[in-house]
């Protein structure tokens, strides 16, 4: 992870090391009743699972990254701006061009009806070797290097929230599958 994207120090000091295998609800200081995004709403914002979500709010006249920081930000009267998930790929700099991939929804109707039925999210892909083994990352890491963006904090959905947000180096234990083949000599 590049320096500009490291999780800020404040998070580091949030909690002492805890047993990662102990299931517990994440409590986020200062964010009582963490924001829930339902799966249906999540799906509505994407053409298919893996497509860049559309922007669910209007134009605010500010740079996207002023609210969508590495940690996200509570914006009074608007809610919580989820953190930026793109770590190593796009970086956080003046050169971030969010609207190359994320577009506004300026119109509700369709030009022509479509029968496209895209891939939906599948939560059963996080294989684990045995009951207490850390699950393998079930999706590509590319464009999603900041694990905390989706798995921790107020914007994390219940289903995929981590029990141990204080453990920062996620990929120390959770590996991603680079091949589907098994070892053969």
């Amino acid at each position: 992870m590049k320096p500009s994207l490291a999780i800020p120090l404040a998070l580091l000091t949030l909690a002492a090391c805890e047993d990662p295998h102990r299931a517990r609800k994440v409590s986020v200081p200062g964010h009582e009743g963490a924001l829930k995004t339902t799966a249906t709403l999540r799906a509505d914002r994407r053409a298919f699972d893996g497509a860049p979500p559309v922007i669910p709010h209007g134009e605010l006249g500010a740079a996207c990254t002023s609210c969508h920081t590495v940690r996200g930000m509570a914006v009074p009267e608007l809610g919580f701006a989820p953190p930026l998930p793109h770590g190593e790929t796009s970086g956080l700099s003046d050169a971030s061009r969010c609207t190359q991939c994320h577009v506004f929804r300026r119109e509700e109707s369709l030009y022509v009806a479509s029968s496209f039925a895209g891939l939906r999210q599948d939560l059963r892909r996080g294989e684990r070797q045995h009951d207490v083994a850390p699950p393998v990352v079930p999706h590509p890491i590319f464009m999603r290097e900041n694990c905390a963006a989706c798995h921790a904090g107020p914007a994390a959905r219940e289903e995929i929230r981590t029990s141990h947000p204080d453990r920062e180096n996620c990929r120390q234990c959770h590996v991603s599958a680079a091949t589907e083949l098994v070892f053969a000599r």
Binding site: A23, A39, D49, C101, V103, F116, I160
Partner: protein, 791 residues
């Protein structure tokens, strides 16, 4: 839908319903179970398979991985193994699958009878085409038939069309929409290097120090390439971007220097830079001595004209005449282009012209020039291409890693099909010309045809082809994979009603204004519904397999052509197995490949291309070439170092530097029509919008066309943002909402309208003036006025 019991057990186990878990409290688990029961998640893995393909849209040629399940495309992701985009895409690419599934996909051949479309069979359709084209050939000769193709054709489609039209019907009336798009770049490369397409490649995006964008909104039109530049700049703060433009665009926001010029005056600016380079002596004399010759053509404005109105409109036959010139003559020629005069013509401050001269003249820094439609759709587009290449020749900044002129292409296979296969009215494969005896002979030999089959006279170029159709000189025309009744300039001129005695066939995937005026409509297979190959901007040929079935009876364009040729008694042209008993793609490609071998255009084999994430030609002994003409890179260069322009046989294997003056645009604003009108594209939509508007996310992001108005002009005229206004020109008028300070911002006295929206046809306003050499029209400069619309 997720509902089977084993799946449920697996899910619960994964979610941690058993012992340890990912993080869920009992309440979370209950919520997750509720969502599951509601069908919010589904099983995906089981039957999901990923395959490589290039993106369907722009000339960048990003690699994607296509997720296919149960015969449907359900997902797309950026291909991390693709060297072009390294996993990144733009919003069009990410939403590719939706393009296939608009409910109004054309599914069956349809014939217009008594004003109504009726479904017919493929057999009836093919018999009818064979009869109409055969009849026209017999009665009126080969000049009465035409095929209008596309830079979105696959290599197979283009090759089948070329062989049928030139080798079968003995006509040269084959031209692609790419004539409207990069013909000027072709003529630039051909007049200077006698070989089409760039010497450089995308590797320059990580190697150059300075990027000079000539009228090129890369952030929207080649977004992923622009991301590569920005990433390079982020890591190397010394990297600079110069944006030369006639309006501020999203690209301008990232430029170190924004240079705004009056439309058409880029010719003067380039000469102004050359003037300063020579004056300061910041040129590479040794390079010039060894590798460059100087040339001059016809420069008289009246002789050349613009080919759009009056006598020139129908018979536009200008032919340039080259004369030898010299460095000394160049110095004299450039005396006129002092910073003062150039500043006066262009409106660019002298300091900016000087800054540009310092960038090109700093021989220690790598410079890449980039351009696309701003330079190509230009009444002196070939000249402008010449001048940009000149800047690189005089400074020796060419065929070197990190220093090159790189012309960007708009369409996914403008290079691979239109240019390399040669589906232009004057061309044959691998840069060959119908006007050269040996080229025709070589083609006839490879095709096994008797000498003299291919006519030596070039056919109609795109705009002329439609003029000839309007006049009635063309009796039968087949249009594939393009939408001319939205994209041609000066559309009113080409209005047509079916049943006018001509026969127009259109092959496409959705209804468009072009299918609206067709006599016969054929449903085509799109993108991964058929096998294909595209060639992108950097000479990279990319293959993909057929991954899903097309809807209804839709079929690939190449197959449609082959079937008609068979019915016209030309089966000898396509001797390979029919679709029923074998695949013809490989033998067809391998025949085409024979044209490219040994002449510096060598394509990789079909087998190699099937496996690779694309390869850049010339591919010799299995190895691709990054930098053409460069020692150590290009296998055809035998020197130890430096460059060798080995294709430029006419000039002793040296590149030609052309002296090209400034000429004003064909139409300029006046008292009656005081505004400049520029047309173009937007990030979300692909060209005329026939595909991307059927993608929910893209349509909802950019539902309709608009006119960008400068704020001061808007205040003066009393126009509010979003208010519907009327744009009136000499040729037509359209009503559409005004946008003030949107994503782009025009200078005073200047408007911009995108052309994707078929309900507001901006091409009813554009002028069909064109470049004298490339015959490419200028969509960027017409004169209009702005009126309020009373509600």
């Amino acid at each position: 839908m997720w509902n089977s019991d084993p799946d449920r057990r697996r899910f619960l186990k994964t979610l941690g319903a058993g012992a340890a878990c990912v993080a869920l409290s009992p309440a979370d688990r209950a919520e997750a179970a509720r969502l599951l029961a509601a069908g919010a998640f589904e099983s995906a893995d089981a039957a999901l398979a990923w395959h490589k393909a290039p993106c369907r849209y722009c000339g960048t040629g990003c690699g994607v991985e296509v997720g296919v399940r149960e015969g449907q495309v359900v997902s797309v992701r950026g291909d991390e193994k693709a060297p072009v985009n390294k996993g990144l895409l733009c919003v069009k690419g990410y939403h590719l699958p939706g393009m296939l599934y608009g409910e109004d996909r054309l599914r069956h051949p349809q014939l217009r009878r008594n004003g109504k479309l009726e479904r017919i069979s493929w057999d009836e359709a093919f018999d009818l085409i064979a009869k109409e084209f055969g009849g026209a050939l017999e009665e009126h000769g080969p000049e009465s038939v035409a095929v209008y193709g596309s830079g979105q054709w696959t290599i197979f489609d283009g090759y089948a069309a070329l062989k049928w039209v030139k080798g079968g019907m003995r006509s040269n009336n084959l031209d692609p929409n790419a004539r409207l798009c990069m013909a000027s770049a072709v003529m630039g490369f051909m007049t200077q290097f006698e070989s089409d397409e760039p010497m450089g490649c995308y590797d320059d995006f990580e190697l150059a120090d300075d990027f000079v964008l000539w009228g090129n909104n890369m952030a929207e039109m080649h977004p992923v390439l622009f991301s590569r530049i920005l990433e390079h700049k982020r890591e190397n703060p010394n990297v600079r971007i110069v944006d030369l433009a006639t309006r501020r665009t999203p690209t301008s926001n990232y430029a170190d220097l924004y240079v705004e010029f009056r439309p058409g005056t880029d010719l003067a600016i380039a000469n102004g830079i050359l003037h300063l380079l020579l004056k300061k002596g910041t040129i590479d004399r040794k390079f010039v001595r060894e590798n460059v010759v100087f040339k001059r053509g016809i420069e008289d404005l009246d002789t050349i004209g613009y080919g759009c109105e009056g006598d020139q409109a129908e018979q536009y036959t200008f032919k340039d005449q080259a004369q030898a010139s010299s460095l000394e003559e160049l110095e004299e020629f450039l005396a006129d282009y002092t910073p003062e005069r150039v500043s006066e013509i262009s409106g660019v401050p002298k300091a900016h012209i000087d800054a540009l001269a310092r960038i090109y003249g700093d021989l220690g820094r790598g410079t890449v020039s980039l351009w696309c439609m701003g330079v190509n759709q230009h009444v002196r587009g070939t000249w402008m291409n010449n001048l940009i290449n000149d800047l690189h020749l005089i400074t020796g900044k060419i065929s070197r890693p990190g220093s090159n002129p790189l012309s960007l292409t708009g369409q996914p296979s403008a290079c691979g099909t239109a240019r390399e296969v040669g589906t232009l009215s004057n061309r044959l494969p691998a840069d060959m010309l119908v006007t050269v005896d040996e080229h025709r002979a070589k083609t006839e030999d490879i095709w096994g045809l008797e000498p003299g089959t291919i006519p030596a006279k070039p056919g109609y170029h795109a705009v002329d082809m439609f003029r000839a159709l309007s006049r009635g000189d063309i009796k039968a025309m087949w249009i594939q994979t393009t939408n001319p009744w939205v994209s041609l300039p000066n559309l009113h001129r080409f209005e047509r009603k079916p049943g006018d005695g001509r026969f127009v066939v259109v092959s496409d995937i959705y209804p468009t204004p072009t299918t609206d005026v067709a006599d016969l409509i054929l449903p085509s297979a799109a993108w991964v519904e058929r096998e294909g190959m595209f060639g992108n901007t950097e000479r990279r040929t990319q293959h993909w397999d057929k991954l899903v079935e097309p809807p209804g009876e839709a079929k690939e364009d190449a197959w449609q052509i082959v079937e008609v040729a068979r019915r016209m008694g030309m089966e000898h042209l396509f001797p390979w197995a029919t679709e029923e008993d074998g695949d013809w793609h490989e033998p067809m490609f391998e025949e085409y490949r024979r044209f490219t071998l040994g002449v510096g255009k060598d394509l990789a084999s079909y087998e190699q291309l099937r496996k690779a994430r694309g390869l850049r030609w010339p591919v010799v002994e299995g190895k691709e070439t990054r930098y053409r003409y460069a020692a150590g890179h290009d296998p055809y260069v035998k020197k130890k170092e430096g460059v060798h322009f080995y294709k430029a046989k006419k000039n002793g294997e040296k590149a030609a530097f052309w002296l090209r003056p400034y000429h004003p645009p064909a139409e300029v604003p006046d008292a009656e029509y005081p505004f400049w009108l520029c047309t173009g594209r937007v990030l979300e939509h692909w060209h005329t919008g026939s595909m991307t508007r059927r993608v929910k996310e893209l349509h909802q992001a950019m539902p309709e066309a608009y006119v960008e108005v400068n704020r001061a002009d808007a205040v003066e005229l009393g126009v509010q943002d979003g208010q519907v206004v009327r744009v009136v020109g000499r040729r037509g008028s359209i009503d559409l909402p005004a946008r003030i300070d949107g994503r782009g911002a025009t200078p005073r006295g200047s408007l911009f309208i995108p052309f994707f929206d078929e309900s507001v046809l901006v091409n009813e306003l554009t002028l069909d003036a064109m470049d004298n050499i490339s015959k490419e029209p200028d969509y960027k400069k017409s004169a209009v006025r702005l009126e309020l619309v009373s509600s």
